[in-house]
């Protein structure tokens, strides 16, 4: 009997140690409990990576792009890449459901962005009551997640939503999800004001939480980047005073621009050399993100002699338009007066936007230049011509050789607003700004033309056309019939 008792004692002891045995997790799989677990996760999947690079199509709906038909294409490759045409034309010609004819069939941008939002959501939730001593890092990481979530919702709105109009709400927003857990339900579009309220709240929280003293890392969301996003968001929401407040605060801490000499060679302006480290040579870049997949080239292809999308003539003209005699804009023409420049490359006698042309680098940056433009626009809208001109001169003096510049007397408010918009187009082309800008500036009429060996065709957008807004992917609408499709009209493609 003694032995029996002994056995049962042993069993009891053994069972009581079970809890620990079962708690152990496998080394490579972690149930997050520490701030670092969350910061690693946020870094891993909370950033805009555009792994599948669909957002490239946002430029195709603007006036910055034109179709270039080569009369004598490279005989080895045939007249054009089939998929360039298939993927690009339907967007470019404002078709009602452009992604349906895409080879991949799916608009990845939608899903990938919501995946990153989901990660921001779990990080924000997890860091609300995590048991960790590093309070400073906890706040900072949580702030980063808020800032990133604001960015994600803003880019969703730029693709799939109507612009923000103060005082007038619109039903054409995107669905909001902030809950960290799975909910098996359908999502309606939230209104534009609801989404912007979230974006605004997120960026405000971010500015409160992010550690502004922390050493800036280019590839991590930081205080400067959050500030730039904050000026942009407020600009989109027409809170001009707030733009000015934030923008000036930013410039107090960071105003350095690259000097307008040959220190930056062709293509290195944005840091877009073949390696990421080039970004560090530009003092105005504060955040580098995104990924430029090689498939970008398939649309803006300039290397192989295909028919391709290239920077439009109207964009190129807008550069020349602003110059005074003797000035040379290095963004458009390089130091030696060639057409290859900071922003544009020429290959196989076609222009190519350098900002998205190089492979294997993180394509997107946030930089001081945008702050200056946001400020200039805000001041112009407020009628403070002098301030606006100061900021524009400061920016342009670092872009243009032999810069002469403007004085406030050169403008009235209307012409100044017009000029700041053009400057914005010049400076921020191919950085996914143009579509958002066109939308918030009233969705002007637009015409696109294409040509192949069968002939020439065109399609048009009317003023305020729904064609400015991307359709939420069919894949989403098939599962989530609460999503109201944008009434993009069936667009006629007329032969010319």
């Amino acid at each position: 009997m003694n032995r029996l008792i002994l056995i049962f004692c042993a069993v009891t002891i053994f069972l009581s140690s079970c809890t620990k045995f079962l708690e152990e997790t496998s080394p490579s799989i972690v149930i997050p409990t520490k701030v670092t677990h969350y910061s690693e996760l946020l870094y891993g999947q909370g950033y805009p990576t555009q792994t599948t690079g669909y957002n490239r199509f946002s430029e195709l709906i603007t006036d910055d792009v034109q179709w270039n038909h080569l009369p004598n294409p490279n005989p080895l490759y045939g007249p054009m890449r089939e998929y360039t045409r298939k993927e690009g034309w339907n967007v470019f010609l404002f078709q009602d459901d452009p992604e349906l004819d895409n080879n991949n069939g799916t608009d990845y941008f939608w899903g990938e962005t919501y995946k990153a939002i989901a990660v921001c959501n779990v990080v924000i939730d997890g860091l609300t009551n995590v048991d960790d001593t590093d309070e400073r890092l906890r706040k900072h990481t949580k702030g980063q997640a808020h800032a990133l979530r604001a960015m994600h919702y803003l880019s969703l709105m730029n693709m799939y939503g109507m612009p923000y109009v103060p005082g007038t709400d619109s039903e054409w927003g995107v669905p909001i999800k902030t809950s960290p857990v799975a909910e098996d339900r359908l999502y309606k579009r939230n209104t534009v004001h609801e989404v912007y309220a979230l974006i605004k709240a997120d960026i405000d929280s971010a500015l409160n939480l992010i550690d502004s003293e922390k050493k800036m890392k280019l590839y991590e969301m930081n205080w400067y980047a959050a500030m730039i996003m904050a000026t942009r968001i407020n600009l989109y929401m027409k809170n001009y005073d707030e733009v000015i407040r934030l923008g000036e605060a930013y410039l107090l801490k960071k105003s350095e621009l690259p000097v307008s000499t040959a220190t930056l060679t062709n293509g290195t302006f944005m840091g877009f050399t073949a390696s990421w480290s080039g970004v560090t040579t530009n003092p105005e870049v504060v955040f580098n993100f995104g990924m430029s997949p090689s498939t970008y080239n398939s649309v803006y292809s300039a290397s192989a002699g295909y028919d391709a999308f290239i920077p439009s003539q109207s964009l190129r003209q807008v550069f020349a338009k602003s110059l005074k005699a003797g000035e040379s804009d290095q963004r458009m023409t390089n130091t030696t007066g060639n057409t290859a420049s900071w922003f544009f490359a020429v290959a196989s006698s076609q222009y190519a936007p350098r900002k998205i042309y190089l492979n294997n680098v993180m394509k997107n940056t946030l930089r001081t230049g945008e702050v200056l433009l946001n400020l200039a626009e805000a001041y112009a809208e407020k009628g403070n011509i002098a301030k606006a001109v100061t900021h524009l001169n400061y920016l342009r003096s670092s872009r243009i050789r032999n810069y002469i510049g403007f004085v406030p007397a050169d403008f009235n408010q209307a012409s100044l607003i017009e000029f700041t918009r053009e400057e914005r187009r010049r400076e921020l082309c191919f950085e996914e700004h143009r579509l958002a800008d066109l939308k918030r500036w009233g969705m002007p009429p637009l015409e696109h033309q294409v040509q192949d060996y069968t002939g020439k065709y065109r399609a048009q957008l009317q003023q305020g056309d729904y064609g400015y807004i991307f359709q939420i992917p069919l894949k989403e609408r098939q599962l989530n019939f609460e999503i109201k499709p944008i009434p993009r009209p069936q667009r006629v493609i007329e032969p010319i």
């Binding site: 045995f21 496998s26 149930i31 989901a118």
Partner: protein, 1212 residues
């Protein structure tokens, strides 16, 4: 250790006799004492001071106490035992001698004598000396006799007669006669014969012995093992089917899992694709989970063996996992089938509940051999196998003339390729003619050459393979210690020339009954498996069936003939790429080596009369190395990593830096994995006759298991295997770019590290009343660390209850049972609730540590976002069974089962706003129900000829009754993974073909009201019809065993009814592209539509290219039409009903006459020959195009080869 006990027999007799064979006697006794002394060395030595206090205890038990307290053993003859009565003693720390004196003082007839460490108890009158023990010896006599059938009285030949406890034995001859010379007159004979109840006959001095054998109902008394418990078939409460090695007729199969097809009612084994080592898919009683684990678990001698590649749902396995599975094999790949004693398949909840959550898919329990008492028995067997390669006769493929003609037709009809074809074969010659590189005469000459080429790719890539298997085992036992050793060597050459599997196994087992109440079972095994296969980019079968026969493998001068394969503009490859399959095979490879070791110790200890403790400790470790490599001379490297053929550019050429990720050398892709797992189990059993007729058996156990897996995957560029495995790491810009952009072709090294821990508590209770009513209840709690910190998810109870009524024990049936009309009849019913898990379903946020990125930041990624609603899947199982045995000849068992799966996990496609494509929801209910039937018995059984037949059949009906997942998408409908209420899981859908139109374009029925029949349709208003399920409605097998004298013939059939499978795609690509010059096409194309009017008699569409096919469908006015290829490939035309019956194996065996075998010193010998997969009939043979119905839907659809075996089995 007791040397004697009432009713038990000493290893040698010791009794009063009168033949003075003194010397022999002394030798025997000395040997015995010597033996005891030796044994004593290992026994514990206690103080020699004896303390005993017993009141009216049996004398034997007092002896036993002394044995325990001293290092002495008692030794006495059986005949003394009746003199032993009860004794009352009270001794405190006295010497041994005093103790013995005290105890024996009440026994005037007995005295004792101490020799070394043995206390001999003997009658007083033998007091003179130890030498006065002549009675130990018994007489040696010669006996003869006849063995007859008890009922018919017919003499039986071939009956085995063994002298118990020795290796002596014989077989009865014609007329049932036997003779044995020089055996002990008190010997006992073990008489056994297939189909008859074994008997033990005491010689008792008789010189002539006539024995009558009773035919048995062989299976009823067999032991059924669940791994934790053992029953007889008669009393087992759950549904357990038993197989013995001789039932596994597929003699050539390498591993156990491949041999189970068609043997057990309700068990479906599929995907047995004839690849050496590739594990099949096993389903017991249908598929019980949709996304969770589906495979049964393997239990070897009571311990769960883990899968080497943890893929528990093979339907959802990735291609990489499938390739690893093929290379490494299943959990039991390392088990030598010859070591198997029996296999028990646990089917219903009553049988499996004790295994807890992982057992919802059934449990396969394997018991391995152990030694038996007696002299060493040596068994050697070898098996030689040849397997026939596939030939063109098995497939409908074009010959070279037809293929050249097709090229001509394509050129004549002006169709275009989307990518310019290479200058290959006939088409190349045509291009040369067009470009005026060659003259018309040269062209004609070339046509004649290509049209007559008829390259036999099957012959080039396949072989009639030869394999061999050798197995040696030695077993035996001295006293209560038995041993079993075995070693085996298996070498299988696959039909594909490069595939080869070698396996070496060794195992040993020692069973020791240390005391009457204490025994040990020690088992150690090791095996090594070497598998050689093809690089994952090469599939020889696919190549042979898709490559044009008008393409040479060799040039006329005997050198390898290369062709330019896919100089694809899409890849920006700067130069041509040369391909020859033989070069590719020679320059690439895939090898795996697995080493496994396991050790198991079980101890069984009975105490306090009714208790038994059983402890098991098991540890297994395995390491697997898989090396996949390709040299710089391979097309794989040229195409994916270099971009041009070797040597095209000088290393200083800019193309090298710009395009070549790996300019020199090839690539080595090693995969290393280590798997360690251990199990500790404690079980306490209480067994007591609680009333006069009632027996209660209760068991309580705990188990902990831990599985640790460590894996390393790498991709090493610049590999030179021919230079001793040197590496030249590339430095080109293309390489750097590929690395910095994380090109998947150059994936970073990855270590995979997981630990799964399980803790379980289980209990079982069996109450048996008079062997008539048996009640059983089992329960188990499982906990695992997979579910994180929240204990709410950790434990899930599993329980079952069963009742069995053995009607044949009832008095009112006694009249039928006594005359053996019915020898057994029982009804049973069981109910159980079981949980099932999906191994990687987490309710909380779980992340995975990832690589540090190129900026030096630590990165983690999501494994699972929070999903707090997740619960266990539950399966409620019901079983109702009836079994009976008739006339001592036939057994019948029928079971009705129903398994209701509740809260099954389904991946529901959700709004992407969720941040994931799918959410795992407990959203499905599904049931499986069916009837299983097993019929077996002797159709004919007489003196010379027996015919034993066993038929198993089971039907299964699967239906999804609830699926909260919305409408299934097109893809899952087409591939059979759609979850649709009212349909079975595995239902495949098809577009409804409506004939060809007058342009030869296929038409389909649509849901569009304006256009009921159209060339295409929109995915939104598509129309699909259900065709049927991938799973059979009815399947099983029919085994026939014929024995005539010393010949045994086994014919095994398997059948499968009511399943549907899709034919391999007619169009290889998503849009109908034309066959490229290097591709072959199905000869179905010969019957294609050529001119208006043909649509009346053919369903094969007109030849079209990508552009024309797009024109055909866009003319339908759809925005986003389903392409012609997708429609045609997935139409009801391309679905076949895979009803078939296959002669799985025919096996002829000859048992050599004893006269012959004795001459070579063997005790028995058997030779056999067998043929497998000889023939099948199928209902849709025309449509199958020569493809084997059993493998038609598999990823590597190689037909099951015809296999011939020859082997011998000799025992010494």
């Amino acid at each position: 250790m007791h040397l004697t006990a009432p009713g038990k027999v000493l290893p040698f007799s010791w009794r009063v006799g009168n033949l003075p064979r003194k010397t022999m006697m002394i030798m025997r006794l000395t040997a015995a004492l010597l033996f005891l002394t030796c044994m004593q060395v290992s026994a514990n030595s206690f103080s020699q001071e004896i303390s005993i206090s017993r009141i009216k205890a049996p004398l034997e038990s007092v002896f036993h106490d002394i044995e325990k307290q001293s290092s002495y053993q008692f030794f006495y003859k059986v005949s003394l035992v009746p003199q032993f009565g009860d004794v009352t003693v009270n001794l405190h720390k006295v010497s041994l001698q005093d103790a013995l004196d005290e105890i024996l003082k009440d026994y005037p007839g007995l005295s004792y004598l101490i020799i070394d460490k043995t206390i001999v108890i003997r009658p007083k009158e033998d007091n003179d000396a130890i030498y006065a023990l002549p009675e130990v010896v018994s007489a040696v006599i010669d006996i003869t006799g006849v063995v007859r059938d008890k009922t018919t009285g017919e003499p039986l030949a071939g009956v085995s007669i063994k002298v118990r406890g020795s290796s002596r034995g014989t077989m009865t001859q014609e007329g049932g006669v036997f003779s044995l010379k020089g055996i002990d007159e008190n010997a006992e004979l073990e008489v056994s014969y297939i189909g008859y109840e074994a008997q033990i006959v005491k010689v008792a001095g008789r010189k002539e012995i006539n024995i009558s054998l009773q035919m048995n109902n062989n299976t009823l008394e067999e032991t059924i093992v669940t791994g934790y418990q053992a029953f007889t078939n008669r009393t087992a409460p759950g549904v357990i089917a038993k197989l013995k090695p001789q039932d596994l007729t597929q003699v050539g199969a390498v591993s156990l899992d491949q041999m189970l097809d068609g043997k057990i009612a309700g068990m479906v084994v599929t995907g047995n694709v004839g690849n050496p080592g590739a594990p099949p898919k096993i389903r017991i009683r249908g598929t019980s989970s949709i996304t969770g684990d589906q495979e049964p678990i393997w239990v070897i001698d009571g311990v769960i063996w883990e899968e080497a590649v943890p893929v528990r749902n093979r339907d959802l396995a990735t291609l990489d996992e499938v390739s690893l599975l093929t290379m490494i094999g299943s959990a039991v790949a390392g088990l030598n089938p010859k070591d198997i004693e029996s296999i028990n398949i646990l089917k219903d909840a009553a049988a499996t509940a004790i295994y807890g959550v992982r057992a919802a898919n059934g449990v396969i329990v394997v018991t391995t051999k152990r030694g038996h008492e007696g002299a060493p028995r040596i068994n050697y067997s070898s098996d030689f196998k040849t397997s026939l390669k596939p030939t063109y006769a098995d497939f409908q493929l074009m010959n070279s003339l037809e293929r050249v003609q097709l090229s001509q037709d394509i050129i004549n009809s002006g169709l275009n390729y989307p990518i310019r074809p290479g200058r290959i074969g006939f088409d190349g010659a045509y291009m040369d003619l067009r470009d005026k590189n060659i003259t018309q005469e040269e062209f004609d000459e070339k046509i004649a050459y290509y049209a007559g080429l008829n390259t036999d790719w099957f012959d080039i890539l396949f072989r009639n393979s030869f394999s061999q298997n050798h197995n040696l085992s030695i077993s035996g036992g001295a006293g209560k210690t038995t041993y079993y050793f075995s070693a085996s060597m298996y070498d299988e050459k696959g039909n594909a020339r490069e595939s080869n599997l070698k396996r070496y196994t060794a195992s040993s087992r020692l069973n020791m009954q240390v005391r009457n109440n204490l025994s040990f079972d020690i088992k150690v095994g090791a095996n090594i498996r070497e598998n050689k296969g093809y690089h994952s980019t090469i599939n020889p079968f696919n190549y042979a069936t898709t490559t044009s026969r008008a393409l040479p493998a060799y040039n006329p001068d005997g050198s390898l003939a290369y062709y330019d394969k896919k100089n694809s503009v899409e890849l920006n490859n700067p130069g041509p790429l040369e391909f020859n399959i033989l070069n590719e095979i020679a320059e690439t490879g895939n090898e795996s080596k697995t080493r496994e070791m396991n050790a198991q110790l079980a101890v069984r200890w009975s105490f306090l009369k009714h208790f038994q403790y059983e402890g098991t400790a098991f540890y297994a470790t395995s390491s697997t190395n898989v090396d996949e490599w390709a040299t710089e001379r391979s097309y794989h490297i040229a195409y994916n990593y270099r971009g041009y053929k070797l040597g095209l550019f000088d290393n200083s050429h800019p193309n090298v830096d710009n395009f070549a990720k790996i300019p020199i050398g090839g690539i080595l892709k090693p995969y290393r994995t280590n798997n360690d797992n251990y199990t500790f189990r404690n079980a306490l059993t209480f067994n007591k006759n609680v009333s006069k007729k009632g027996n209660l058996n209760a068991m309580l156990g705990t188990e902990i298991r831990s599985v640790r897996q460590k894996g390393l995957t790498q991709m090493l560029p610049g590999y030179f295997p021919e230079r001793g495995g040197m590496f030249t790491i590339p430095t080109t810009t293309a390489y750097k770019n590929a690395v910095s952009s994380r090109d998947p072709l150059l994936a970073e090294p990855k270590v995979e590290n997981t630990i799964s821990n399980f803790v379980s508590v289980y209990a079982a209770l069996i109450y048996n009343h008079d062997n008539k009513y048996i009640f059983n209840a089992n329960g188990r709690f499982d906990g695992s660390n997979n579910f994180g910190k929240d204990p709410k998810y950790r434990y899930l109870p599993t329980f079952s209850t069963a009742f069995k009524w053995i009607a044949s024990e009832e008095n009112f049936l006694s009249r039928l049972t006594e005359n053996n009309t019915i020898d057994f009849m029982a009804l049973n019913a069981s109910f159980g609730l079981q949980g099932n898990i999906k191994s990687n379903a987490y309710p909380t946020l779980v992340t995975k540590v990832n690589n540090i990125d190129r900026f030096g930041n630590t990165v983690a990624t999501v494994v699972s976002l929070g999903n707090p609603g997740l619960r266990w899947e539950q399966t409620y199982s019901y079983n109702l069974g009836l079994e009976f045995g008739l006339f001592n000849r036939f057994n019948f068992r029928a079971d009705y089962y129903r398994k209701n799966g509740i809260d099954l996990l389904i991946n529901k496609l959700v709004s992407q706003v969720e941040g994931r494509e799918t959410i795992l929801l407990n959203a499905g209910d599904m049931y499986n129900q069916g009837i299983e039937l097993t019929l077996s018995g002797y159709v004919v059984r007489n003196r010379y000829f027996t015919w034993r037949s066993s038929f198993v059949g089971a039907n299964n009906k699967n239906k999804i009754t609830k699926a909260y997942v919305g409408e299934a998408d097109l893809n899952s409908q087409l591939n059979g993974s759609a979850v649709t209420v009212g349909e079975a899981l595995g239902t495949i859908y098809a577009f409804q073909f409506a004939g060809l139109d007058n342009q030869g374009v296929p038409l389909y029925y649509t849901n569009n009201k304006n256009q009921e029949i159209a060339r295409s349709m929109d995915p939104l208003d598509r129309k699909t019809i259900t065709v049927g399920s991938l799973n059979p409605k009815l399947n099983g097998g029919w085994d026939n065993n014929f024995r005539y004298k010393d010949f045994t013939l086994v014919v095994s059939l398997t059948y499968n009814l009511g399943s549907y499978k899709r034919l391999p795609p007619f169009y290889g690509a998503t849009s109908p592209t034309l066959p490229y010059p290097e591709q072959n096409f199905s000869s179905e194309y010969l019957k294609r539509w050529r001119q208006p009017g043909d649509e009346a008699h053919t369903n094969i569409p007109v030849l079209m290219d990508q552009a024309t096919s797009l024109t055909f469908i866009t003319s339908g006015g759809y925005d986003n039409p389903i392409l012609i290829a997708d429609l045609y490939n997935n139409s009801d035309l391309r679905v076949v009903k895979t009803n078939y019956m296959r002669v799985r194996a025919i096996n002829l065996q000859y048992h050599l006459p004893a006269k012959l075998t004795r001459r070579v010193g063997a005790s028995s010998a058997t030779i056999y020959g067998s043929a497998q997969n000889l023939w099948y009939i199928t209902s849709d043979r025309d449509k199958m195009n020569g493809i084997d119905p059993e493998v038609i839907g598999e990823r590597i659809a190689m037909p099951l080869p015809k296999i011939f075996n020859f082997g011998v089995n000799i025992s010494f």
